[in-house]
């Protein structure tokens, strides 16, 4: 099986090479994306098989890589779980790209490479291969983010993206180095035997959080994400948001939960809880305020990454407190939500791509009323949005239910500091979930409901059949994952047992999710069936009493007069725009957390210019993190330049001084 997976990765790399000449042909895109579709589907199949029958035992050693560390591949429950997500999302994204009008030829080769990089990261069984795949994935996706490099903001996003990717690597490599210590071992099997302790462990934790967190988009290292994810072609955005962030979280879980060994103290979870909660809140709030559909989805990704991180952090806390069952619960929440989010976020990004293509814009302020022109896209997007809003019985709710249950059980940790921290996290997670629902309602309501806002938007049309299927399939999967989370979760049992302790089991019984002995259960199938039953009975009863079909008439609109003929979409002033819908949250939370500001430019009486209302926000990570870093860099560069402007004689003096200083140092050392 590993051989098959490895050759699949190899084929993807070869495909990337072949895509260079293929890109010049007319059917090249179809060939490449078709092959990617097949490869991704195979990946999903193999991963599912590995999860079902148990992963292969022996690692696969490849004759590749640098001489001191030949690549080692292995598959265990954890990596197979994420590989499954990669396969599912990758297949949907490739299918979408197949039906999408071809982009520029330069976007073809990086795409298979991107898939290969992610797969390699997941399959890696040594640190070098892991980082290799990780950076390959970043480099390939950078090329895709920079696809529209003529636009300055696209270039800026790409630059920030690659710089953050390098930052991740520069944190993760020392993390592995610290883990290995002077032995220099890189293979995971060896690293597991060297669990770090004390300050060394803390340093590994901090570096892993910085490195993987920067790639996953954890606050405060998230500034690049809402810029970079939307800049790529939509099917790539889908993968970046849906899968790549999960790969980063996989690295985090692998490092902190697996390689550092099970004997780490409880407090290791606290930084994860704090960063996760901050990410969830800030991401959801930004999602509720963003006015670009893809940026909104990217911010929602930050939120979900935060939720998953909370789950991982809780697992650490519980494991440190010897509460294996609860650790399994928290870990299951993280894993299940990772899978679910990957699928529904892929769906949503594909829908956003379909909208951007069909309606000519992804700015919410230029969309509207698309539910009529694009019924299939609208329905799929609705499924995705409702899942993202964590509504039962869709998949998003299952994961969040587990997470909330794990958080609620946090009081079982017998330390009041942990209890209060977990309770606060619980509140923030709940708030983030509600904010996410608000953001999703706003996304769907503004883009698909109401009236069109531009002529181009009014002329939208439904997308091609492959694109529709690329949305229908993940939409169906979202429903299925929502209805059957328990059997799916049981597939993750090897991963849970490996990370939470050998006795830990998946919190699933039959078809229901189970929050531990004596605790509550969530029966999605029952809930769904009862909902359907209630709905059907209701419809039947109401129809009996009220059989008349609905009549159509102009909207009442609180008595506003019918719009004049030159306003074909009605009076735009009577339809709230994206900024208007965001107004309550902007004022309630945005002003405090995101420095949101509203400015009204009111002309004096007698002036003929229109009044203008501008609203915006500034993410605090920019002024608090990036700006000081850039300032510091500039000051350092100033100093460096002052050195450069020395005259030749001064340079000679410097050489001379170096020599004298070294001689003096030598004399001193010898005298000691």
């Amino acid at each position: 099986m590993l051989t098959a997976l490895a050759s699949l990765v190899g084929l993807l790399v070869l495909l990337a090479a072949a895509a260079v000449p293929l890109g010049r042909r007319r059917q090249g895109g179809a060939v490449v994306h078709g092959a990617c579709l097949a490869a991704a589907a195979l990946l999903a199949l193999l991963a599912a098989a590995a999860l079902a029958v148990g992963p292969p035992e022996a690692p696969l050693r490849l004759p590749l890589g640098p001489p001191w560390s030949r690549m080692v591949l292995a598959l265990d429950g954890l990596s197979a779980w994420f590989l499954l997500l990669l396969g599912l999302s990758g297949a949907a994204a490739s299918l979408f790209a197949l039906g999408h009008p071809p982009g520029p030829a330069r976007t073809l080769p990086p795409y298979p490479l991107f898939l290969a990089g992610m797969a390699l990261t997941l399959l890696a069984a040594d640190a070098f291969t892991l980082l290799f795949g990780f950076e390959l994935m970043s480099l390939a996706s950078w090329a895709l983010v920079a696809a529209e490099h003529q636009r300055a903001e696209s270039r800026r996003a790409a630059r920030l993206y690659l710089v953050f990717a390098a930052f991740s690597a520069l944190c993760l490599i020392p993390a592995f180095g610290l883990l290995a210590g002077p032995t220099g071992a890189l293979e995971f099997a060896t690293l597991r035997t060297l669990p770090p302790e004390g300050a060394r462990g803390a340093a590994v934790l901090a570096l892993a959080l910085l490195g993987a967190g920067a790639k996953a988009g954890l606050v405060p290292l998230h500034a690049w994400l809402p810029l970079a994810h939307p800049a790529a072609p939509s099917h790539v955005s889908a993968l970046m948001s849906g899968v790549m962030t999960k790969v980063a979280l996989y690295v985090l879980a692998r490092l902190v939960l697996d390689l550092c060994g099970p004997a780490q103290p409880s407090w290791w979870g606290l930084p994860l809880l704090a960063l996760g909660a901050a990410s969830a809140l800030l991401g959801a709030l930004r999602a509720a305020l963003e006015e670009d559909a893809k940026a909104l989805l990217a911010c929602s990704t930050i939120e979900n990454v935060g939720l998953i991180t909370i789950g991982l952090g809780l697992a650490l806390v519980f494991r440190g407190a010897d509460l294996a069952a609860l650790a399994a619960l928290a870990l299951s929440a993280a894993l299940l939500h990772a899978l679910n989010h990957g699928v529904f976020k892929t769906l949503l990004f594909l829908a956003a791509g379909a909208v951007a293509h069909a309606a000519g814009s992804r700015a919410l302020g230029r969309l509207g009323g698309l539910v009529h022109a694009m019924p299939v896209t609208a329905a799929c997007a609705l499924v995705g949005a409702l899942a993202a809003a964590a509504l039962p019985p869709l998949s998003g709710f299952a994961g969040e239910w587990l997470l909330l249950q794990a958080l609620i059980a946090g009081w079982r940790v017998a330390d009041i500091a942990f209890q209060v921290a977990i309770a606060a996290t619980l509140a923030l997670a709940a708030m983030a979930a509600a904010l996410a629902a608000a953001a999703m309602v706003r996304l769907f309501g503004v883009a698909f409901l109401g009236r069109p806002r531009t002529p181009r938007g009014a002329g939208a049309h439904e997308v091609s059949a492959p694109e529709r299927w690329a949305m229908i399939l993940p939409a169906g999967l979202t429903v299925l994952l929502g209805l059957f989370p328990a059997p799916v979760l049981r597939l993750a049992e090897p991963a849970i047992a490996a990370l939470a302790g050998p006795v830990a089991l998946a919190p699933a019984r039959g078809l229901s999710l189970w929050a531990g002995d004596g605790a509550t259960a969530y029966l999605p199938l029952v809930a769904a069936a009862l909902l359907a039953l209630a709905g059907a009975a209701l419809a039947f009863a109401v129809r009996r009493r009220s059989p008349l079909p609905a009549a159509r008439g102009p909207a009442w609109d609180c008595g506003f007069i019918a719009p004049p003929a030159h306003l074909p979409f009605g009076d735009p002033l009577t339809q709230p725009g994206p900024a208007g819908i965001a107004q309550p949250l902007r004022r309630m939370l945005g002003e405090a957390l995101l420095r949101a500001r509203e400015r009204v430019d009111m002309p004096e009486p007698g002036e003929t210019r229109p009044a203008r209302h501008a609203a915006g926000f500034r993410d605090p990570s920019l002024p608090l993190l990036l700006a000081p870093a850039a300032w510091l860099r500039e000051r350092l560069a100033d100093q460096g330049e002052r050195l450069r402007h020395l005259t030749i004689r001064r340079w000679l003096s410097l050489s001379f001084a170096t020599l004298v200083a070294l001689l003096a140092l030598l004399a001193w050392l010898e005298a000691r």
Binding site: L139, A637, R644
Partner: protein
């Protein structure tokens, strides 16, 4: 004649011949021919039995680098042939240019191959003198300034290195190594433990400052960025690709001798300090560069710093990282100079602001350059990723307090390179110069560029086991 001498003397014979050829086309062909003849011979060195033969030695430490240098010499000769018409040399300069090129190649091969430290010194001095006039060959004020600085700083440095060599000889003399043996690296290495540690220390300081100047270690680096930014670009390519390696190898050999004496002051921390200073200053200075070639000159400072840092850390793994880093840097940096040279010619300027949007108008060049810059920034799948990975990992594992500044310097460097990459390759294309280079000129830059990328990829991912074994053996030599 033993093979090492052939590898040295063949280019020198070529240099003599080229000094007489004034026909541009013929000279360029002879230049390529000599380099092409040298390359297989240098490859043969890999299979030579290791050991000392007179003044030369072949061991794991130098054979791969000589072969690599011969390869880069060949590709650079090809590149140079394509760009010759743009240089507009008169007959004298043309002859001097080609002669200096081959003289340089032979000298740096000798510097790597010589076992006699005096000969090594002589070879490095020849290489310096051969290149220094070429830096000034365009006779612009900036070029003369750069060359004068190069001449003075390296002249001083090399003098100090000679003094260090003499002190080393004195140290060996006291324990019975007089005459030839007193300068033989092999015998010095063998008797180092009995030598007077004070003399060894003294020698090391002078050798470090002397050869460190040539290797461009901060604060002795001032000549490097400017020298690489002036003169024919082929000279820049071999300067950064080969001369720096030869100089750093000399430092490494010196360190090996001093390090073999347990009573001497440990040489590692000196290298660590200079290396770290180089990485950090390069990381900072890259942000203010407006000139593409100076930018990559500064990047050479950073990379040499990294290699020096690795050698300072010591131990087989870190030494291996340093050696691989040197090799990777040679391959990739010369590739970058090919690409930058061609783009500067296309755009009629080597300012970063005047070059842009290459992937749109010249995809082969643009993507090649983009990949090369990504490679030099240490992104996979190229060799520099592997070496930086190993270096950072070793540093973190053995001396975590050093990993922080190192990672910081690396981060600054990478970020600056990403910015330069996007500046050069992405965005809207900048206007071209009036005179576009011909197809041959473009091919002569792009083909070597991609060839070097291929080599960097091969070495990074699929290093042949024999070569890998050789490198591992080399990494154990300096200790």
């Amino acid at each position: 004649m033993p093979l090492p001498w052939i590898v040295v003397l063949l280019p020198w014979a070529g240099a003599l011949a080229l000094a007489a050829i004034a026909a541009p086309r013929l000279a360029a062909r002879v230049n390529i021919g000599v380099a092409a003849l040298t390359f297989p011979l240098a490859l043969l060195l890999l299979f030579q039995p290791h050991g000392v033969q007179g003044w030369t030695r072949v061991d794991a430490l130098n054979a791969p680098f000589v072969a690599l240098a011969a390869f880069i010499g060949l590709t650079t000769a090809v590149f140079s042939a394509g760009q010759l018409d743009a240089e507009r040399f008169d007959a004298l300069r043309l002859r001097a240019y080609h002669a200096a090129f081959q003289l340089f190649l032979g000298a740096q091969a000798l510097a790597l191959l010589s076992d006699n430290l005096g000969i090594m010194w002589v070879a490095i001095e020849i290489a310096t003198l051969a290149s220094v006039l070429m830096v000034a060959v365009h006779n612009t004020p900036a070029a003369i300034e750069a060359a004068w600085k190069f001449f003075l700083l390296c002249g001083v440095g090399i003098a100090l290195a000679l003094f260090g060599t003499i002190v080393l000889y004195l140290a060996a003399q006291a324990v019975g190594g007089a005459g030839e043996a007193g300068l033989s690296w092999a015998s010095l290495h063998a008797v180092a433990a009995e030598c007077d540690p004070g003399l060894l220390n003294l020698a090391f300081v002078f050798l470090l400052v002397g050869y460190g100047t040539k290797a461009g270690l901060v604060p002795l680096h001032a000549w490097l960025p400017d020298a690489e930014a002036e003169g024919p670009i082929a000279i820049s390519a071999v300067l950064s690709g080969l001369l720096l390696n030869a100089a750093l190898m000399a430092v490494l050999r010196a360190k090996a001798i001093v390090g073999a004496n347990p009573e001497a002051v440990a040489p590692g921390p000196f290298l660590l300090a200079l290396g770290l200073a180089s990485v950090l200053l390069a990381g900072v200075s890259l942000w203010r560069r407006a000139d593409a070639r100076r930018f990559f000159g500064w990047s050479s400072v950073g990379h040499m710093g990294m290699a020096a840092f690795a050698f300072g850390l010591g131990g087989a793994a870190a030494n291996l990282a340093g050696l691989l880093h040197m090799a990777g840097h040679s391959v990739v940096k010369s590739a970058i100079f090919f690409g930058v040279g061609l783009s500067a010619r296309i755009k009629g300027s080597q300012r970063l602001a005047d070059i842009g949007g290459l992937i749109g108008t010249h995809p082969l060049l643009g993507w090649g350059l983009a990949l090369a810059i990504a490679a030099v920034a240490g992104l996979p799948p190229f060799l520099l990723f592997a070496s930086e990975f190993l270096l950072l990992q070793e540093t973190a594992g053995r001396a975590w307090w050093l990993a922080l500044p190192l990672a910081l310097g690396l981060f600054l460097t990478v970020a600056a390179k990403v910015a330069a990459l996007q500046r050069l390759c992405l965005g809207d294309p900048t206007p071209d110069a009036a005179e576009a280079p011909g197809r041959a000129a473009r091919l002569s830059a792009v083909v070597p560029l991609w060839l070097h990328l291929g080599l960097a990829l091969l070495l990074g991912l699929l290093m042949p086991p024999a070569l890998a074994g050789l490198m591992a053996e080399a990494a154990r030599i300096p200790g």
